[in-house]
Assembly symmetry: D2
Homo-oligomer: 142 residues x 4
Protein backbone atom coordinates (compact mmCIF):
# COMPACT_ATOMS: atom_id res chain seq x y z
CA UNK A 1 0.00 0.00 0.00
CA UNK A 2 1.45 3.31 -1.06
CA UNK A 3 0.72 6.16 1.27
CA UNK A 4 0.49 9.56 -0.34
CA UNK A 5 1.34 12.19 2.20
CA UNK A 6 -1.36 14.80 2.24
CA UNK A 7 -0.96 18.49 2.92
CA UNK A 8 -3.37 20.27 5.25
CA UNK A 9 -5.06 22.03 2.33
CA UNK A 10 -5.87 18.65 0.73
CA UNK A 11 -8.27 17.83 3.57
CA UNK A 12 -11.87 18.98 3.16
CA UNK A 13 -12.38 19.37 6.94
CA UNK A 14 -9.88 20.75 9.46
CA UNK A 15 -9.87 21.73 13.12
CA UNK A 16 -7.33 23.29 15.43
CA UNK A 17 -6.40 21.54 18.69
CA UNK A 18 -4.37 23.07 21.49
CA UNK A 19 -2.04 20.44 22.95
CA UNK A 20 -2.13 19.68 26.66
CA UNK A 21 0.65 19.03 29.14
CA UNK A 22 -0.51 15.40 29.42
CA UNK A 23 -0.08 14.88 25.66
CA UNK A 24 3.68 14.74 26.15
CA UNK A 25 5.10 11.51 27.45
CA UNK A 26 8.36 10.87 29.27
CA UNK A 27 10.23 11.51 25.98
CA UNK A 28 8.90 15.09 25.93
CA UNK A 29 6.80 14.78 22.77
CA UNK A 30 3.18 13.94 22.06
CA UNK A 31 2.55 10.27 22.78
CA UNK A 32 1.49 8.03 19.88
CA UNK A 33 -1.85 7.11 21.49
CA UNK A 34 -2.82 10.77 21.82
CA UNK A 35 -3.01 11.08 18.02
CA UNK A 36 -5.92 8.66 18.10
CA UNK A 37 -7.66 10.87 20.66
CA UNK A 38 -7.49 13.60 18.04
CA UNK A 39 -8.74 11.23 15.29
CA UNK A 40 -11.70 10.31 17.50
CA UNK A 41 -12.40 13.91 18.28
CA UNK A 42 -12.49 15.25 14.75
CA UNK A 43 -14.37 12.28 13.20
CA UNK A 44 -17.06 12.48 15.87
CA UNK A 45 -17.58 16.18 15.14
CA UNK A 46 -18.78 14.95 11.74
CA UNK A 47 -20.47 11.73 12.87
CA UNK A 48 -22.39 12.85 15.95
CA UNK A 49 -24.86 15.13 14.13
CA UNK A 50 -25.55 12.26 11.69
CA UNK A 51 -26.08 9.69 14.44
CA UNK A 52 -28.19 11.94 16.65
CA UNK A 53 -31.04 11.84 14.14
CA UNK A 54 -30.81 8.06 13.67
CA UNK A 55 -30.98 4.93 15.81
CA UNK A 56 -27.50 3.90 14.70
CA UNK A 57 -24.12 3.95 16.37
CA UNK A 58 -20.72 3.96 14.63
CA UNK A 59 -18.11 1.49 15.82
CA UNK A 60 -14.40 1.62 15.03
CA UNK A 61 -13.12 -1.64 13.57
CA UNK A 62 -9.68 -0.49 12.45
CA UNK A 63 -7.18 2.24 13.23
CA UNK A 64 -3.66 2.83 12.01
CA UNK A 65 -1.10 5.58 12.08
CA UNK A 66 2.29 6.36 10.56
CA UNK A 67 4.45 8.78 12.49
CA UNK A 68 6.78 11.09 10.55
CA UNK A 69 7.79 13.83 12.98
CA UNK A 70 7.34 14.88 16.60
CA UNK A 71 5.00 17.51 17.94
CA UNK A 72 4.93 18.67 21.53
CA UNK A 73 2.99 20.64 24.10
CA UNK A 74 2.27 23.59 24.09
CA UNK A 75 1.96 23.61 20.28
CA UNK A 76 -1.41 24.27 18.64
CA UNK A 77 -1.98 21.52 16.08
CA UNK A 78 -3.99 21.40 12.88
CA UNK A 79 -5.87 18.19 12.16
CA UNK A 80 -7.20 17.39 8.69
CA UNK A 81 -9.94 14.88 7.90
CA UNK A 82 -11.23 13.34 4.70
CA UNK A 83 -13.02 10.22 3.49
CA UNK A 84 -10.86 7.83 1.47
CA UNK A 85 -13.57 5.23 0.81
CA UNK A 86 -17.27 5.26 1.40
CA UNK A 87 -19.06 1.92 1.58
CA UNK A 88 -22.61 0.89 2.25
CA UNK A 89 -22.11 0.68 6.02
CA UNK A 90 -18.43 1.62 6.41
CA UNK A 91 -16.58 4.89 6.15
CA UNK A 92 -12.79 4.89 5.72
CA UNK A 93 -11.24 8.09 7.02
CA UNK A 94 -7.86 9.55 6.33
CA UNK A 95 -6.40 11.94 8.88
CA UNK A 96 -3.37 14.18 9.07
CA UNK A 97 -1.89 15.86 12.13
CA UNK A 98 0.23 18.92 11.40
CA UNK A 99 2.54 20.89 13.66
CA UNK A 100 2.09 24.60 14.33
CA UNK A 101 4.54 25.24 11.49
CA UNK A 102 2.71 23.00 9.04
CA UNK A 103 4.92 19.91 9.18
CA UNK A 104 3.08 16.62 8.73
CA UNK A 105 3.59 14.71 11.99
CA UNK A 106 1.25 11.77 11.47
CA UNK A 107 -1.03 10.25 8.87
CA UNK A 108 -3.76 8.00 10.16
CA UNK A 109 -6.66 5.90 8.98
CA UNK A 110 -9.86 4.96 10.79
CA UNK A 111 -12.72 2.72 9.76
CA UNK A 112 -16.14 3.31 11.31
CA UNK A 113 -18.97 0.86 10.68
CA UNK A 114 -22.58 2.00 11.08
CA UNK A 115 -24.45 -0.46 13.29
CA UNK A 116 -27.81 -0.89 14.91
CA UNK A 117 -28.07 -0.87 18.70
CA UNK A 118 -27.23 -4.61 18.75
CA UNK A 119 -23.92 -3.81 17.04
CA UNK A 120 -24.87 -5.46 13.72
CA UNK A 121 -23.65 -3.54 10.68
CA UNK A 122 -26.34 -1.75 8.68
CA UNK A 123 -26.43 0.49 5.65
CA UNK A 124 -25.95 4.10 6.68
CA UNK A 125 -28.83 6.47 6.00
CA UNK A 126 -28.83 8.32 2.68
CA UNK A 127 -28.46 11.54 4.66
CA UNK A 128 -25.26 10.22 6.26
CA UNK A 129 -23.93 8.98 2.92
CA UNK A 130 -24.63 12.36 1.38
CA UNK A 131 -22.78 14.26 4.12
CA UNK A 132 -19.81 11.88 4.05
CA UNK A 133 -19.68 12.06 0.24
CA UNK A 134 -18.91 15.78 0.59
CA UNK A 135 -15.73 14.87 2.50
CA UNK A 136 -14.31 12.40 -0.02
CA UNK A 137 -10.66 13.15 -0.75
CA UNK A 138 -10.10 14.22 -4.34
CA UNK A 139 -6.44 13.17 -4.20
CA UNK A 140 -6.94 9.46 -3.65
CA UNK A 141 -4.35 8.08 -1.29
CA UNK A 142 -5.42 4.46 -1.01
Amino acid sequence: MTITKQRLQDFPFTLEYRTRWSDNDAYGHMNNAKYLELFDSITNVVLEPLLKTSSQIALIVHADADYYASVAYPEVLQVGLGVSRLGRSAVHWELGVFSATGTLACMGRYVHVFCNKSQKSEAMSSLSAQRLQELVLTTPSL
Copy 2:
Protein backbone atom coordinates in the same frame (compact mmCIF):
# COMPACT_ATOMS: atom_id res chain seq x y z
CA MET B 1 -12.89 28.96 53.37
CA THR B 2 -15.23 31.07 51.28
CA ILE B 3 -14.86 30.57 47.58
CA THR B 4 -15.60 33.60 45.48
CA LYS B 5 -16.69 32.51 42.05
CA GLN B 6 -14.70 34.31 39.46
CA ARG B 7 -15.81 35.38 36.02
CA LEU B 8 -13.58 34.79 33.01
CA GLN B 9 -12.74 38.49 32.78
CA ASP B 10 -11.41 38.44 36.35
CA PHE B 11 -8.53 36.18 35.32
CA PRO B 12 -5.37 37.88 34.05
CA PHE B 13 -4.46 34.95 31.76
CA THR B 14 -6.86 32.90 29.64
CA LEU B 15 -6.60 30.24 26.95
CA GLU B 16 -9.11 28.44 24.77
CA TYR B 17 -9.18 24.62 24.74
CA ARG B 18 -11.13 22.51 22.28
CA THR B 19 -12.58 19.50 24.09
CA ARG B 20 -11.83 16.00 22.83
CA TRP B 21 -14.05 12.94 22.51
CA SER B 22 -12.10 11.25 25.30
CA ASP B 23 -12.88 14.12 27.70
CA ASN B 24 -16.41 12.78 28.05
CA ASP B 25 -16.90 9.83 30.33
CA ALA B 26 -19.68 7.24 30.40
CA TYR B 27 -22.05 9.94 31.74
CA GLY B 28 -21.57 11.97 28.55
CA HIS B 29 -19.88 14.98 30.13
CA MET B 30 -16.28 15.99 30.74
CA ASN B 31 -14.75 13.80 33.43
CA ASN B 32 -13.62 15.46 36.67
CA ALA B 33 -9.97 14.41 36.21
CA LYS B 34 -9.80 16.08 32.79
CA TYR B 35 -10.18 19.49 34.43
CA LEU B 36 -6.82 18.93 36.09
CA GLU B 37 -5.31 18.18 32.68
CA LEU B 38 -6.42 21.68 31.69
CA PHE B 39 -5.05 23.18 34.94
CA ASP B 40 -1.69 21.52 34.23
CA SER B 41 -1.72 22.72 30.67
CA ILE B 42 -2.39 26.39 31.30
CA THR B 43 -0.13 26.72 34.37
CA ASN B 44 2.79 25.15 32.51
CA VAL B 45 2.36 27.62 29.65
CA VAL B 46 3.35 30.21 32.26
CA LEU B 47 5.86 28.11 34.22
CA GLU B 48 7.85 26.44 31.46
CA PRO B 49 9.48 29.62 30.12
CA LEU B 50 10.48 30.50 33.70
CA LEU B 51 11.92 27.08 34.44
CA LYS B 52 13.74 26.71 31.13
CA THR B 53 16.20 29.43 32.11
CA SER B 54 16.76 28.01 35.61
CA SER B 55 17.92 24.77 37.19
CA GLN B 56 14.63 24.45 39.06
CA ILE B 57 11.57 22.30 38.62
CA ALA B 58 8.06 23.02 39.93
CA LEU B 59 6.25 20.23 41.77
CA ILE B 60 2.54 20.13 42.54
CA VAL B 61 1.85 19.55 46.21
CA HIS B 62 -1.90 20.27 46.25
CA ALA B 63 -4.81 20.34 43.86
CA ASP B 64 -8.51 20.85 44.43
CA ALA B 65 -11.58 21.53 42.38
CA ASP B 66 -15.23 22.43 42.93
CA TYR B 67 -17.60 21.45 40.15
CA TYR B 68 -20.63 23.66 39.47
CA ALA B 69 -21.90 22.65 36.04
CA SER B 70 -21.22 20.17 33.27
CA VAL B 71 -19.38 20.80 30.04
CA ALA B 72 -19.11 18.30 27.22
CA TYR B 73 -17.34 17.48 23.98
CA PRO B 74 -17.33 19.05 21.40
CA GLU B 75 -17.50 22.37 23.25
CA VAL B 76 -14.63 24.83 23.08
CA LEU B 77 -13.79 25.86 26.64
CA GLN B 78 -12.24 28.98 28.12
CA VAL B 79 -9.78 28.48 30.96
CA GLY B 80 -8.78 31.36 33.23
CA LEU B 81 -5.68 31.47 35.41
CA GLY B 82 -4.52 33.76 38.19
CA VAL B 83 -2.25 33.71 41.22
CA SER B 84 -4.06 33.84 44.57
CA ARG B 85 -0.95 33.77 46.76
CA LEU B 86 2.71 34.12 45.96
CA GLY B 87 5.18 32.79 48.50
CA ARG B 88 8.94 32.53 48.56
CA SER B 89 9.00 29.12 46.91
CA ALA B 90 5.29 28.38 46.37
CA VAL B 91 2.74 29.75 43.96
CA HIS B 92 -0.98 29.25 44.68
CA TRP B 93 -3.01 29.31 41.49
CA GLU B 94 -6.71 29.83 41.04
CA LEU B 95 -8.31 28.47 37.89
CA GLY B 96 -11.72 28.67 36.28
CA VAL B 97 -13.12 26.52 33.49
CA PHE B 98 -15.94 28.11 31.53
CA SER B 99 -18.33 26.59 29.00
CA ALA B 100 -18.63 27.87 25.45
CA THR B 101 -21.54 30.04 26.63
CA GLY B 102 -19.56 31.49 29.55
CA THR B 103 -20.99 29.41 32.41
CA LEU B 104 -18.53 28.66 35.20
CA ALA B 105 -18.16 24.86 35.24
CA CYS B 106 -15.31 24.44 37.69
CA MET B 107 -13.12 26.45 40.03
CA GLY B 108 -9.81 24.91 40.95
CA ARG B 109 -6.72 25.57 42.96
CA TYR B 110 -3.17 24.29 42.44
CA VAL B 111 -0.03 24.76 44.48
CA HIS B 112 3.34 24.50 42.74
CA VAL B 113 6.55 24.52 44.78
CA PHE B 114 9.81 25.53 43.15
CA CYS B 115 12.47 22.92 43.88
CA ASN B 116 16.01 22.07 43.00
CA LYS B 117 16.76 18.92 41.04
CA SER B 118 16.81 16.92 44.30
CA GLN B 119 13.20 18.01 44.92
CA LYS B 120 14.06 20.28 47.88
CA SER B 121 12.03 23.50 47.95
CA GLU B 122 13.97 26.65 47.07
CA ALA B 123 13.15 30.32 46.69
CA MET B 124 12.03 31.03 43.16
CA SER B 125 14.19 33.38 41.11
CA SER B 126 13.33 37.08 41.21
CA LEU B 127 12.50 36.82 37.51
CA SER B 128 9.91 34.10 38.25
CA ALA B 129 8.48 36.06 41.16
CA GLN B 130 8.20 39.13 38.96
CA ARG B 131 6.35 37.29 36.21
CA LEU B 132 4.00 35.56 38.64
CA GLN B 133 3.35 38.86 40.44
CA GLU B 134 1.82 40.13 37.18
CA LEU B 135 -0.80 37.38 37.40
CA VAL B 136 -1.96 38.03 40.96
CA LEU B 137 -5.74 38.20 41.16
CA THR B 138 -7.00 41.63 42.11
CA THR B 139 -10.29 40.18 43.40
CA PRO B 140 -8.85 38.07 46.19
CA SER B 141 -10.71 34.81 46.58
CA LEU B 142 -8.79 33.14 49.37
Copy 3:
Protein backbone atom coordinates in the same frame (compact mmCIF):
# COMPACT_ATOMS: atom_id res chain seq x y z
CA MET C 1 -7.98 21.21 58.51
CA THR C 2 -5.56 18.63 59.84
CA ILE C 3 -4.93 15.75 57.51
CA THR C 4 -4.12 12.48 59.16
CA LYS C 5 -2.05 10.36 56.84
CA GLN C 6 -3.57 6.94 56.52
CA ARG C 7 -1.76 3.68 56.00
CA LEU C 8 -3.01 1.18 53.43
CA GLN C 9 -4.30 -1.14 56.15
CA ASP C 10 -6.50 1.66 57.53
CA PHE C 11 -8.64 1.61 54.40
CA PRO C 12 -11.57 -0.82 54.34
CA PHE C 13 -11.40 -1.26 50.54
CA THR C 14 -8.26 -1.56 48.41
CA LEU C 15 -7.42 -2.37 44.80
CA GLU C 16 -4.20 -2.82 42.88
CA TYR C 17 -3.56 -0.77 39.74
CA ARG C 18 -0.75 -1.39 37.27
CA THR C 19 0.60 1.96 36.07
CA ARG C 20 0.73 2.72 32.36
CA TRP C 21 3.37 4.43 30.25
CA SER C 22 1.01 7.38 29.73
CA ASP C 23 0.72 7.92 33.50
CA ASN C 24 4.18 9.45 33.50
CA ASP C 25 4.47 13.01 32.32
CA ALA C 26 7.49 14.87 30.96
CA TYR C 27 9.01 14.87 34.46
CA GLY C 28 9.09 11.06 34.43
CA HIS C 29 6.63 10.48 37.26
CA MET C 30 2.89 9.92 37.47
CA ASN C 31 1.04 13.10 36.59
CA ASN C 32 -1.13 14.71 39.28
CA ALA C 33 -4.34 14.39 37.21
CA LYS C 34 -3.83 10.63 36.85
CA TYR C 35 -4.39 10.17 40.59
CA LEU C 36 -7.96 11.37 40.07
CA GLU C 37 -8.39 8.73 37.36
CA LEU C 38 -7.60 6.19 40.05
CA PHE C 39 -9.96 7.85 42.54
CA ASP C 40 -12.74 7.69 39.93
CA SER C 41 -11.95 4.10 39.16
CA ILE C 42 -12.01 2.72 42.69
CA THR C 43 -15.03 4.74 43.89
CA ASN C 44 -17.08 3.64 40.91
CA VAL C 45 -16.29 0.00 41.63
CA VAL C 46 -18.30 0.61 44.81
CA LEU C 47 -20.89 3.00 43.38
CA GLU C 48 -21.82 1.33 40.10
CA PRO C 49 -23.49 -1.74 41.64
CA LEU C 50 -25.51 0.61 43.89
CA LEU C 51 -26.59 2.88 41.02
CA LYS C 52 -27.38 0.05 38.61
CA THR C 53 -30.39 -0.96 40.68
CA SER C 54 -31.64 2.62 41.11
CA SER C 55 -32.69 5.52 38.91
CA GLN C 56 -30.00 7.73 40.43
CA ILE C 57 -26.65 8.97 39.24
CA ALA C 58 -23.76 10.17 41.42
CA LEU C 59 -22.11 13.46 40.50
CA ILE C 60 -18.76 14.70 41.78
CA VAL C 61 -18.97 18.15 43.33
CA HIS C 62 -15.53 18.33 44.92
CA ALA C 63 -12.12 16.73 44.56
CA ASP C 64 -8.83 17.47 46.24
CA ALA C 65 -5.45 15.85 46.60
CA ASP C 66 -2.24 16.35 48.56
CA TYR C 67 0.89 14.93 46.99
CA TYR C 68 3.63 13.60 49.27
CA ALA C 69 5.89 11.48 47.07
CA SER C 70 6.33 10.44 43.45
CA VAL C 71 5.34 7.16 41.88
CA ALA C 72 6.19 6.15 38.35
CA TYR C 73 5.47 3.65 35.59
CA PRO C 74 5.90 0.66 35.58
CA GLU C 75 5.11 0.42 39.31
CA VAL C 76 2.04 -1.48 40.51
CA LEU C 77 0.15 0.80 42.91
CA GLN C 78 -2.15 0.09 45.82
CA VAL C 79 -5.18 2.37 46.19
CA GLY C 80 -7.15 2.53 49.42
CA LEU C 81 -10.69 3.83 49.79
CA GLY C 82 -12.89 4.71 52.74
CA VAL C 83 -15.84 6.92 53.62
CA SER C 84 -15.00 9.88 55.86
CA ARG C 85 -18.54 11.28 56.09
CA LEU C 86 -21.86 9.91 55.00
CA GLY C 87 -24.71 12.35 54.51
CA ARG C 88 -28.28 12.02 53.32
CA SER C 89 -27.38 12.49 49.69
CA ALA C 90 -23.59 12.98 49.80
CA VAL C 91 -20.73 10.61 50.39
CA HIS C 92 -17.30 12.01 51.31
CA TRP C 93 -14.52 9.64 50.33
CA GLU C 94 -10.97 9.51 51.50
CA LEU C 95 -8.40 7.89 49.22
CA GLY C 96 -4.77 6.94 49.48
CA VAL C 97 -2.37 6.01 46.70
CA PHE C 98 0.60 3.93 47.77
CA SER C 99 3.76 3.01 45.88
CA ALA C 100 4.80 -0.58 45.27
CA THR C 101 6.93 -0.36 48.41
CA GLY C 102 4.08 0.98 50.54
CA THR C 103 4.99 4.68 50.62
CA LEU C 104 2.02 7.05 50.73
CA ALA C 105 2.23 9.09 47.53
CA CYS C 106 -1.08 10.94 47.65
CA MET C 107 -4.08 11.45 49.90
CA GLY C 108 -7.26 12.56 48.20
CA ARG C 109 -10.86 13.41 48.94
CA TYR C 110 -13.89 13.17 46.69
CA VAL C 111 -17.50 14.16 47.27
CA HIS C 112 -20.22 12.38 45.29
CA VAL C 113 -23.81 13.60 45.48
CA PHE C 114 -26.64 11.21 44.63
CA CYS C 115 -28.99 12.85 42.12
CA ASN C 116 -32.02 12.06 40.06
CA LYS C 117 -31.74 12.04 36.28
CA SER C 118 -32.36 15.83 36.24
CA GLN C 119 -29.25 16.25 38.39
CA LYS C 120 -31.17 17.36 41.51
CA SER C 121 -29.75 15.95 44.74
CA GLU C 122 -31.80 13.24 46.41
CA ALA C 123 -31.47 11.07 49.46
CA MET C 124 -29.57 7.90 48.60
CA SER C 125 -31.41 4.63 48.95
CA SER C 126 -31.17 2.83 52.28
CA LEU C 127 -29.38 0.02 50.45
CA SER C 128 -26.71 2.48 49.27
CA ALA C 129 -26.40 4.04 52.72
CA GLN C 130 -26.00 0.59 54.23
CA ARG C 131 -23.23 -0.42 51.81
CA LEU C 132 -21.38 2.89 52.22
CA GLN C 133 -21.71 2.67 56.00
CA GLU C 134 -19.59 -0.50 55.84
CA LEU C 135 -16.74 1.56 54.37
CA VAL C 136 -16.68 4.32 57.00
CA LEU C 137 -13.14 4.96 58.23
CA THR C 138 -12.70 4.10 61.88
CA THR C 139 -9.68 6.39 62.19
CA PRO C 140 -11.41 9.68 61.46
CA SER C 141 -9.21 11.94 59.39
CA LEU C 142 -11.43 14.97 58.93
Copy 4:
Protein backbone atom coordinates in the same frame (compact mmCIF):
# COMPACT_ATOMS: atom_id res chain seq x y z
CA MET D 1 -2.38 -9.15 4.63
CA THR D 2 -3.96 -12.05 6.48
CA ILE D 3 -4.28 -11.57 10.18
CA THR D 4 -4.10 -14.70 12.26
CA LYS D 5 -5.92 -14.18 15.49
CA GLN D 6 -3.75 -15.17 18.36
CA ARG D 7 -4.81 -16.67 21.66
CA LEU D 8 -3.37 -15.37 24.91
CA GLN D 9 -1.26 -18.49 25.34
CA ASP D 10 0.42 -17.85 21.97
CA PHE D 11 2.09 -14.73 23.32
CA PRO D 12 5.47 -15.18 25.02
CA PHE D 13 4.90 -12.18 27.35
CA THR D 14 1.66 -11.21 29.09
CA LEU D 15 0.56 -8.71 31.73
CA GLU D 16 -2.70 -8.03 33.51
CA TYR D 17 -4.19 -4.50 33.45
CA ARG D 18 -7.07 -3.32 35.57
CA THR D 19 -9.29 -1.01 33.51
CA ARG D 20 -10.06 2.48 34.77
CA TRP D 21 -13.27 4.49 34.72
CA SER D 22 -11.73 6.85 32.18
CA ASP D 23 -11.07 3.96 29.76
CA ASN D 24 -14.77 3.91 28.90
CA ASP D 25 -15.99 6.53 26.51
CA ALA D 26 -19.50 7.91 26.02
CA TYR D 27 -20.51 4.57 24.44
CA GLY D 28 -19.74 2.78 27.71
CA HIS D 29 -16.87 0.65 26.44
CA MET D 30 -13.11 1.04 26.33
CA ASN D 31 -12.16 3.71 23.83
CA ASN D 32 -10.06 2.67 20.82
CA ALA D 33 -7.17 4.99 21.72
CA LYS D 34 -6.85 3.40 25.17
CA TYR D 35 -5.73 0.13 23.59
CA LEU D 36 -2.62 1.94 22.38
CA GLU D 37 -1.95 3.11 25.94
CA LEU D 38 -1.81 -0.57 26.85
CA PHE D 39 0.43 -1.38 23.85
CA ASP D 40 2.81 1.39 24.95
CA SER D 41 2.75 0.17 28.51
CA ILE D 42 3.58 -3.46 27.87
CA THR D 43 6.20 -2.86 25.14
CA ASN D 44 8.05 -0.38 27.34
CA VAL D 45 8.20 -2.91 30.17
CA VAL D 46 10.42 -4.88 27.77
CA LEU D 47 12.20 -1.95 26.11
CA GLU D 48 13.06 0.26 29.07
CA PRO D 49 15.56 -2.13 30.68
CA LEU D 50 17.26 -2.49 27.28
CA LEU D 51 17.43 1.25 26.65
CA LYS D 52 18.54 2.17 30.15
CA THR D 53 21.93 0.57 29.56
CA SER D 54 22.39 2.19 26.15
CA SER D 55 22.44 5.69 24.67
CA GLN D 56 19.55 4.83 22.37
CA ILE D 57 15.89 5.68 22.37
CA ALA D 58 13.10 3.74 20.62
CA LEU D 59 10.64 5.71 18.50
CA ILE D 60 7.30 4.45 17.24
CA VAL D 61 6.92 4.84 13.50
CA HIS D 62 3.76 2.78 12.99
CA ALA D 63 0.78 1.57 14.98
CA ASP D 64 -2.34 -0.26 13.93
CA ALA D 65 -5.20 -2.07 15.57
CA ASP D 66 -8.15 -4.23 14.57
CA TYR D 67 -11.06 -4.27 16.97
CA TYR D 68 -13.13 -7.46 17.31
CA ALA D 69 -15.13 -7.09 20.51
CA SER D 70 -15.77 -4.60 23.30
CA VAL D 71 -14.28 -4.58 26.76
CA ALA D 72 -15.32 -2.23 29.52
CA TYR D 73 -14.42 -0.90 32.94
CA PRO D 74 -14.17 -2.40 35.54
CA GLU D 75 -12.87 -5.53 33.77
CA VAL D 76 -9.33 -6.76 34.36
CA LEU D 77 -7.71 -7.30 30.97
CA GLN D 78 -4.95 -9.58 29.80
CA VAL D 79 -2.49 -8.16 27.29
CA GLY D 80 -0.21 -10.40 25.24
CA LEU D 81 2.98 -9.30 23.49
CA GLY D 82 5.27 -10.92 20.95
CA VAL D 83 7.75 -9.96 18.25
CA SER D 84 6.56 -10.66 14.70
CA ARG D 85 9.68 -9.39 12.92
CA LEU D 86 13.07 -8.39 14.19
CA GLY D 87 15.20 -6.17 11.99
CA ARG D 88 18.57 -4.52 12.39
CA SER D 89 17.14 -1.39 13.97
CA ALA D 90 13.39 -2.10 14.01
CA VAL D 91 11.22 -4.37 16.10
CA HIS D 92 7.71 -5.26 14.89
CA TRP D 93 5.44 -6.15 17.78
CA GLU D 94 2.18 -8.01 17.76
CA LEU D 95 -0.22 -7.41 20.62
CA GLY D 96 -3.48 -8.90 21.78
CA VAL D 97 -5.94 -7.50 24.29
CA PHE D 98 -8.21 -10.07 25.92
CA SER D 99 -11.30 -9.59 28.06
CA ALA D 100 -11.58 -10.99 31.57
CA THR D 101 -13.29 -14.06 30.07
CA GLY D 102 -10.55 -14.59 27.46
CA THR D 103 -12.26 -13.12 24.39
CA LEU D 104 -9.91 -11.43 21.94
CA ALA D 105 -10.98 -7.77 21.85
CA CYS D 106 -8.17 -6.26 19.79
CA MET D 107 -5.11 -7.27 17.81
CA GLY D 108 -2.50 -4.58 17.31
CA ARG D 109 0.87 -4.01 15.74
CA TYR D 110 3.58 -1.53 16.70
CA VAL D 111 6.91 -0.75 15.09
CA HIS D 112 9.67 0.71 17.25
CA VAL D 113 12.90 1.92 15.64
CA PHE D 114 16.05 2.15 17.72
CA CYS D 115 17.64 5.59 17.28
CA ASN D 116 20.48 7.65 18.59
CA LYS D 117 19.74 10.80 20.57
CA SER D 118 19.46 12.77 17.30
CA GLN D 119 16.64 10.43 16.25
CA LYS D 120 18.63 8.72 13.47
CA SER D 121 17.99 4.99 13.22
CA GLU D 122 20.82 2.75 14.38
CA ALA D 123 21.37 -0.96 14.76
CA MET D 124 20.13 -2.14 18.12
CA SER D 125 22.72 -3.58 20.51
CA SER D 126 23.31 -7.32 20.38
CA LEU D 127 21.97 -7.49 23.93
CA SER D 128 18.68 -5.92 22.81
CA ALA D 129 18.48 -8.19 19.77
CA GLN D 130 19.06 -11.20 21.98
CA ARG D 131 16.31 -10.25 24.43
CA LEU D 132 13.83 -9.43 21.66
CA GLN D 133 14.68 -12.69 19.87
CA GLU D 134 13.32 -14.54 22.91
CA LEU D 135 9.92 -12.93 22.30
CA VAL D 136 9.57 -13.87 18.62
CA LEU D 137 6.18 -15.41 17.93
CA THR D 138 6.43 -19.03 16.90
CA THR D 139 3.03 -18.91 15.18
CA PRO D 140 3.88 -16.40 12.46
CA SER D 141 1.00 -14.05 11.84
CA LEU D 142 2.43 -11.68 9.25
